[in-house]
Structure formats: C-alpha cells, structure tokens
C-alpha cells in the first residue's frame, strides 16, 4: 500500500506532536505527579499569582471606569482639577481614586500587580533560558511562553493608555508616530487605528475592549496551555545525584507542592496589597488630563516598555529621508521596529536555533548549569545587556538630573555602549563559563585542596586532597557537552557537487559558533585514573599512620532526602 502525501504529512505532524507531548499516555500518571523543588521554579508562579490579582482587581475597576473620550468638566473633590475639561475616561479615573471606596487601593493593586507580573515573566524567562529548560520537548512551551510575554506587553500597553492622562496620551502619541512611520500605508493605518486624526474619540473604547477582553482572554487561554504542557512534560530538574533524564526527583504534587504553592500565592497577594497600600503609583491627578498640544518633560512609560522609549531616544534624528515626495522615517522605524524585532526574534527562535546547531534529537529533562553551556549563557547575557542599555537610555533624563551629568554625553555613551557592551558581555561571560568548567574539571580530578602538605617516608612532599563526595561529583561530571557537528564533504565520491551542501555549511558555522570552544567533561577513564592515583596517596598516607577522608565510592550512597520521591518520566 502506498501512502499519500497528505497521509504522510499528517502522520509526521502527529508524530511530531506525540514525541513532544506524549498525548497517548497523557493522563496516565497524573495522580502521582512528582514536582522537583527549587526556588527558581516558583518564578513562574509569581507571574501566575500576579495575573490572578490582575484579573480580580481589573474586574473591580471595570465597574467604575468609563471608557469614553467625551469631554466633561470635572466636578469632583480634587480641588486642583475643578472645572477642568477632561475626557470621561480621565474623570472616571479620578472618581475611582477619590470617590469610590477602596478605588484608589484597587487601582494601585492593579498597577503594582502589572509591574510585578511583567517582572516575574521576565525573570522566569531568564531562568528557563539560562538553565536550558526550553530544550526538547519543551520548545513548544517556550513559544507559548514567549507569546505570553508579548501578550503581557500588549496588556500593559493597552491598560497604561486607558486613564487618558498626560503620560498615557504621550505614549499613544508615540504609537501614532510609529504607525505613521510604516512606509506607504502608515498614514492610512494611523487613521484606521485612531478612527480619524489623532487622537480622535475612538481609541480609548477600542483599547478598552482589547485590554479587558481580547488580551486577557488570550493570556488566560495560553496560561492554561502553558501549565498543561508543564504537567504533561513534567517539570525539569536541576542536576544532582540520582537525577537523570529518565526520572523526576521531587515532592509529590499533593500535598507538599500544593501546600507550598498555595502558601506562596498568599505571600504574593499580600505583598502586592502591602505595596499598593503604602506606595503611590501612577498619580494621574498630578499629571492632569491629556491634551495633545503641550509636551511635558519626564514622560516615560512603565518599565517594561522603557526599552522602546530608550531605543527611540538613542536614534539620531537625521535618518529621515524624503524620496519622491514620500517620507521614509528610518529614525522611527529602526528603533521602534527593527531593533526590538531583531532582539525578540532571536529570543523567540532560540530553542530552534540551538537544536539546529547541536543536531540533537534526544529529550532533555535535567537542566544545564549555565556554565556548561557557555555560548548560550553568553548570548543570553548579551541580549539582556542590550535590553538593559535601552532601558537606561529610556531614563536618560533622570540619569542626567540625578547624577548631574550631561544629557548629551549620556546619550552618546549609550549609543556606543549599545553596540559595544553586548559584545563585551558575550566575550567575558563565555570566558567566565569556560573558566568555571575548567575549575570543575580540576576539582573532579584532584579533589578539594586541604592545605595540608605531607612529607612521605621516602622524602616526597604531597598535598592532601579531599575527594569530592557523590553529589559534588555527579554535578560536575554528568552533563553533555556537544561538539560542532560534522558535515559531509562538498563533493561526493564521483566529484559531483552535493545538493544541500551550502545549507550544511551554514549549519556547520552556526554549530562552530556554539561549540568550537569547549572544555571536555571528565570521562569515566580519567575519573578512574584519578581515583587510582588518589587511592595510591591514600595508601601511602595510611601507611604513615595517618587518617584521611574516605573515598566517595566507599561512602554510603543514600543521598536522597527522606521526603523526596522519585518517579519515572
């Protein structure tokens, strides 16, 4: 029987999914789920619980917020605004702050939770990145998570723009500028988005729908998928004695992990409420209602959007060209679209990039120590550095006033640093990782220095080294260190140029970039030899009537803690 193309394609897709999700055996062992324990696995939970807070406080806010740009005159209790013309959106935000019971607290809870949500997402993502938790089979979940990050940005941006105060209006003005900078269709797009000339009267109702319906709906659905995939794949674990790609060492979901997570949820709720009750955030009554004509100094977005602001602030303005009557605003397009686009694409595609470079097909459930993946760690640090510089550039005016420096000098310094610092960060991080690996290797082969020098009977001096215990050894020996992939030569045996050679060569280059610099992990033979050598010393010392620590092999091997359980993957 011949299979059709369609059948083969669908079978391939099914296989792809099955290999990654194991749909077939999905629900099988749910009850006995074991979760590995590590504080950094709680970072995702901070994001989750902040999102719960966002939903709750957000529902409260929708009860009082009026998403309308109709102009009204303020009549409420805040004296400095008496009779001031403002949109209903702004007036209702003031009402929430000063008239609705608990309204100000809820507004502040919502905003602090949003800042923490984004902070937790970013830190969680860094954890996943630097430990290599995104490797097969979790690439899909990385993509889901990455989409959540983008949606989080969208939620933050749409929400920030709702109160229609000076800062949110400035943000929308920038958005308008970016939309208009799109070649050819820009001005039409701007009219489309704002329902006419900026600011129009449509944008706030539109953003409101996105902010309370579309974006949170998508986030909720994707968080569901995200967590489903976490349960399905089972959580990764840090390397350690007894932990392999074939098992999960940790606590059972019930009751230990549920208790920990439940307790943590209340810590997150409590901390957000505490911050909201004591620290003012987004005091729109100080900023005043938005008015498109004046521009105010010190207008900044929330921290998670600051990289875009910084990118725009750094770009020199001269790069705007008029070609045949059309304006090409590279001064806006490059900083607002190209730069973030590049950084985010690299981030989103990273698991696939890395899989392509290793050529590996196997599953990974034991995390990498960052030092054992020097190129990844270095690239991560480089990307973070680039973002950080953009964030700082977004606050260049504050840096100037608070550190008494010249705004112009700071801007120039950041322009240079944006290109230099990531490269430097890459180089130095990689060196540090390789250095740490080398030290691990030495440690495994020689043991801990004990600072005791012993003179043997025949006059030789040796330093006594304390061998590593089982756990320390496992951590330092048990990891894979891929080599650059080998490719077939350009021509086959008959001298004909091979078809996929060019693609292979690119792949080989990428692979070399990743893995050319490597420290060989200690092999079994090397370890055996080192141990024999240590045993020799040991014997000599024993002969001299001295005692020294026992070798790991002789130690008892019960390293798992009592409460911990182990299950198969």
């Amino acid at each position: 029987m011949t299979t059709t193309r369609l059948e083969r394609a669908s079978a391939g897709t099914a296989d792809f999914l099955d290999q990654r999700t194991g749909i077939g055996v999905a629900v099988k062992n749910f009850a006995r789920k074991i979760f590995p324990d590590h504080w950094s696995f709680l970072l995702g939970e901070i994001a989750l619980f902040s999102f719960v807070v966002l939903l709750g406080s957000g529902i409260f806010l929708t009860m009082f917020f009026v998403p309308s740009m109709t102009e009204v005159h303020y009549e409420g209790p805040w004296a400095p605004m008496h009779g001031v013309e403002m949109s209903e959106a702004f007036a209702s935000t003031l009402r929430l702050s000063f008239e609705v019971r608990g309204g100000l607290l809820m507004r502040q809870i919502h905003h602090w939770a949003a800042l923490l949500f984004m902070a937790a997402i970013v830190v969680h993502m860094l954890r996943v990145f630097f430990t290599g938790a995104f490797r097969k089979p979790r690439e899909l979940n990385w993509v889901v998570g990455f989409t959540l990050l983008i949606l989080g940005l969208a939620a933050g941006f749409t929400g920030y723009s709702l109160p229609d105060d000076v800062l949110s209006g400035n943000g929308l003005r920038i958005t308008d500028g970016v939309v208009k900078a799109i070649p050819i269709i820009g001005s039409y797009m701007s009219y489309f988005v704002f329902g006419g000339e900026f600011p129009g009267t449509d944008i706030i109702p539109r953003l409101f729908t996105l902010h309370i319906l579309v974006v949170p709906g998508l986030i909720l659905a994707l968080i569901g998928l995200h967590l489903f995939l976490v349960v399905l794949h089972k959580h990764t674990q840090f390397p350690g004695s007894g932990r392999t790609d074939g098992n999960v060492v940790g606590f059972p979901l019930f009751p230990v992990y549920t208790a920990k997570a439940g307790g943590f949820a209340f810590i997150v709720f409590g901390l957000i409420t505490l911050m909201a009750a004591t620290i003012q955030i987004n005091p729109v009554w100080n900023y005043g209602p938005y008015d498109p004509s004046p521009v105010s100094a010190g207008a900044q977005p929330d921290w998670y959007m600051l990289f875009l602001e910084g990118s725009l602030r750094l770009m020199p303005g001269q790069t705007e060209y008029v070609i045949g009557g059309y304006t090409l605003s590279l001064n806006v397009l490059i900083p607002a679209v190209v730069i973030p686009g590049l950084l985010f694409t690299v981030l989103g595609a990273w698991p696939f990039l890395e899989a392509y470079a290793t050529g590996e097909k196997r599953e990974h459930h034991v995390l990498d120590r960052p030092r054992n993946a020097p190129t990844r760690t270095a690239a991560g640090v480089a990307i973070v550095t680039a973002f950080f510089i953009l964030v700082l550039a977004g606050a260049n005016d504050l840096i100037a006033t608070h550190f008494e420096m010249s705004l112009n000098d700071i801007t120039w310094a950041f322009r240079v640093l944006f290109f230099v610092a990531p490269v430097f960060a890459f180089w130095i991080t990689k060196r540090i990782c390789l250095g740490l690996q080398r030290r691990d290797r030495d440690l495994v082969l020689h043991g801990h220095e004990s600072a005791t020098i012993v003179r043997l009977a025949h006059g030789e001096y040796i330093e006594v080294h304390k061998p590593l215990d089982e756990h320390e050894l496992w951590l330092r020996v048990n990891y894979s260190s891929p080599r650059p992939i080998e490719i077939e030569p350009a021509e086959d045996s008959r001298g004909v140029r091979r078809k996929g050679y060019r693609a292979d060569r690119i792949r080989r280059r990428l692979s070399e970039f990743f893995y050319a610099d490597r420290i060989e992990p200690v092999s079994a033979e090397e370890l055996a030899a080192a141990r024999a050598h240590q045993a020799e010393h040991h014997a000599l010392l024993e002969g001299g009537g001295r005692h020294s620590a026992a070798l790991p092999a002789e130690e008892s091997t019960s390293t798992t803690v009592d409460v911990e359980a182990t299950s198969d993957r």
């Binding site: 001031v84 900044q300 929330d302 006033t401 009592d562």
Partner: protein
C-alpha cells in the same frame, strides 16, 4: 539605614532651612507691617540701599564688579531688578560657588533682611521687576485648576507635568519646583533665571502667576496614594517593583524552596 538617614537629612536640610527662613521672614515682616502702612516702601529705604551696597561689595563684587557692572564671567546686574536678586539669593544660587553648567540652588547664605538689602541696592541701580507682595504670592488666593492649565502650557516641557523637574541639554536642568517657596516661584517667572524664559506681566499676569503658585502648592498636599517615591514617575515605580517587589518575593521563594532538613 545610616546612609539613608544621612541622605534624607541632606535632601531635607534646605527645606527645613527654608521653612525657618520663612518663619523669620514672617516675624520680621509682621514687625514691619505693624509699624508702617506700606512695607515695600520700607524695604526701599536709603539705609537698606547703603547696607546692600556694603554686602554686595563684600560678597558679590568679585564676580559682578564693584558697581554691579558685570565682568567677563558674570553678567551686569543693572536693571535686573529686586526680583532677580531675591530669587538668586533666597534660593542660595548666589553667591555662586562651583563652576557648574548652572548655578546650583543651595541653602541660602543670607537672611531675609540681608537679601532684601541686596535687592534694594541692585534695584537702585536701574528699574526692574520688584519683589512681589505677600498677597501676590498667597496660594490660598489663587485658582489651582487654572494654574494647572497654565503650568501645562508654559512650564511642563521643562519642569515635567508634576513639577518634579527634568533634564535640559549639556548638563543643564530644570529643577523641581515642588519645594520652592511662593515668592521664589513668582520671581523665577518674573526674571527667567538662566535657561528659563522670562514670563513678564504680558505673558502671565500677576493673577495667573498666583494661580500657578496655587497649583504648585496643591501638588505638595501630600500623596493620597502613599509614599511618592520622589515623584519621578514610572521609572521609579519600576525600580521599586524590582527591588522591593521581586526582591522580597524571590527571598520568600528561596525560603519556601529551601529543604526543611
């Protein structure tokens, strides 16, 4: 804690001094006001001009010249008016010290009386804006809502919408106006120190100036939402979200993640 306390102390010191200076000023003024029908006339007396000349010769002449005619590195003060001297001296900018991009506000070196004497001397050299009366700068008599609108169109591009200040080019900056005393706000507008434009009575009438003072005064009515983090806006909030929020949460996570054994 010590460092924080020290810095806090440092930041608040000028404010405390200003408040004290205001109290002294209030007392002195009250004394004058009861003995004389028109206080402004008293401050213009020849005695004051003479005392001012002496103070000027001792403290200012090295830069501005013996007759305030100006030198190559300091401008002439003929015609800048009493308001300019009042602003420069009461905010501690003059006498200038460090060679900075702009004269820094410092704790004032002269008391209320000496400041008025200096102002009287400079005013005697040529006509210029006068020091406003108590009534002209009384925040209670202004309309903060109108002040907000005026502040936004005239001042917020440099001083930020909240009045917390902002950066200008080449190390210059527009300082926070939130802790400035009303007369200094008025005289700043009337004389336009350094990079700040002059807002004379044609651009902003005295009533409008008083509205602006009322708005700035309303801005410092305390933060209804809690600690104001120095009113620097979203950047400060973001830093707190990371340092306090994520810091504490991660500390808790580490504590929860730690094995009990």
């Amino acid at each position: 804690m010590k460092a924080i306390a020290a810095r806090r102390h440092h930041r608040q010191a000028p404010v405390v001094l200003l408040v004290l200076a205001l109290l002294v000023m209030g007392g002195v003024y009250a004394a004058f006001a009861t003995t004389s029908a028109d206080a402004t006339v008293v401050t213009q007396s020849d005695d004051d001009v003479e005392a001012g000349r002496k103070l000027f010769a001792a403290n200012c002449a090295s830069c501005h010249g013996l007759n305030a005619e100006g030198r190559q590195n300091a401008p002439s003060l003929v015609g800048v008016g009493a308001a300019s001297v009042y602003f420069q001296v009461s905010t501690g900018r003059m006498p200038m010290q460090a060679d900075a991009p702009q004269a820094e506000a410092k704790p004032p070196q002269f008391g209320e009386e000496a400041t008025r004497q200096l102002a009287a001397y400079v005013a005697s050299l040529g006509a210029g804006p006068a020091i406003p009366t108590e009534d002209q700068v009384d925040p209670a008599k202004g309309d903060p809502a109108s002040g907000m609108a005026l502040f936004r169109t005239n001042c917020s591009m440099c001083h930020a919408a909240s009045g917390a200040g902002g950066a200008l080019t080449q190390g210059k900056y527009a300082p926070s106006v939130l802790n400035t005393d009303p007369a200094a706000i008025y005289t700043a507008m009337a004389t336009g120190p350094q990079s700040m434009p002059v807002f004379n009575d044609m651009t902003l009438t005295p009533e409008e100036k008083r509205d602006i003072i009322a708005f700035i005064d309303a801005q410092k009515e305390g933060a209804p939402g809690g600690l104001d983090l120095g009113q620097i806006g979203p950047v400060g909030e973001g830093m707190w979200a990371f340092i306090v929020g994520m810091g504490l949460l991660i500390a808790c996570a580490v504590w929860i993640g730690a094995k009990s054994s």
